[in-house]
């Protein structure tokens, strides 16, 4: 790569990096439940993005392209690691906030606990459901973009989301104290545990 091309790519890359780093980091954080792994994976993705910028010709949206790199990076990570699930880190309390206070007002300590429960729930979902659930419910991507990222039809993405929501409902209805105070909470302060 000559100096002029390199300078141009660096400028373009920095813009892309600044606008996408948070969502890619959060995608990995929710997929792995581990901050250190999320950091390493985010770094790996953006180095691939930088190296591959010359090969991106704008045939798809750049965010879609970056998510595709992220998904492939995650698949390689799983392949190398040979295990799918990770325990949830415990240093997250300072960054927890309530988004929808009016509907389900929870105290700070409750939200902290809920965060642990939800991450456990996510960890126990198969990747085929977890990916679209994170991309749609937490990252706000459109169905058609998720379909492009995951190489699925829009119908298939919807089916996976419906099943993921159904699973979420099953677990929360029967086991989550925050969902229904008459449920016996079996989190023990360490997140939701599969029975």
């Amino acid at each position: 790569m000559n100096l002029e091309t390199k300078t141009h790519n660096t400028g373009q890359f920095e813009e892309i990096y600044e606008s996408c780093k948070k969502r890619i980091y959060n995608y990995f954080y929710r997929m792995t439940g581990d901050r250190e792994e999320a950091k390493d994976l985010t770094q790996e993705v953006f180095l691939k993005v930088y190296k591959g910028l010359d090969t991106f010709h704008g045939r798809s949206d750049i965010v879609t392209w970056i998510y595709k790199i992220a998904i492939n990076t995650y698949k390689n990570f799983l392949r190398n690691k040979k295990k799918q699930y990770e325990s949830f880190g415990d240093n997250y309390e300072e960054e927890i906030a309530i988004v929808d206070k009016d509907i389900l007002p929870l105290k700070h300590a409750e939200v902290k606990e809920l965060e642990g429960c939800m991450q456990k729930f996510l960890n126990d979902l198969p990747d085929t459901y977890r990916m679209p659930l994170i991309l749609y419910e937490l990252q706000g991507l459109r169905i058609k973009d998720i379909a492009a990222i995951m190489n699925l039809s829009e119908r298939n993405v919807k089916i996976r989301l419906i099943r993921a929501r159904k699973k979420l409902r099953e677990i929360l209805c029967t086991q989550c104290y925050f969902f229904n105070p008459s449920n016996p909470c079996n989190c023990n302060g360490d997140g939701w545990q599969a029975k």
């Binding site: 948070k22 959060n26 960054e95 969902f179």
Partner: protein, 71 residues
């Protein structure tokens, strides 16, 4: 609309993307069917609870590592 058909439309209903006539049928059904109404209410509540997981900032350490590789 029957209970078994509800599943087919639930996604679009929650996204407010059902055609007007179907939406009317859907709502008429859940108004009269306690089980389906409960199911929809619980699903909405679950999604709301799940969405309380918010984004966290990307650590500065990642910025530093990226910068190091670019320099």
């Amino acid at each position: 609309m029957k209970c078994a058909e509800l599943e087919k439309f639930i996604f679009e209903y929650l996204e407010n993307k059902l055609a007007h006539s179907v939406k009317e049928e859907f709502e008429a059904h859940i108004l009269n069917c306690l089980n389906c109404r409960k199911y929809i209410d619980e699903t909405i509540k679950c999604i709301t609870l799940f969405r309380q997981l918010r984004e966290i900032p990307c650590p500065e350490e990642v910025d530093k590592k990226i910068k190091y590789h670019l320099d």
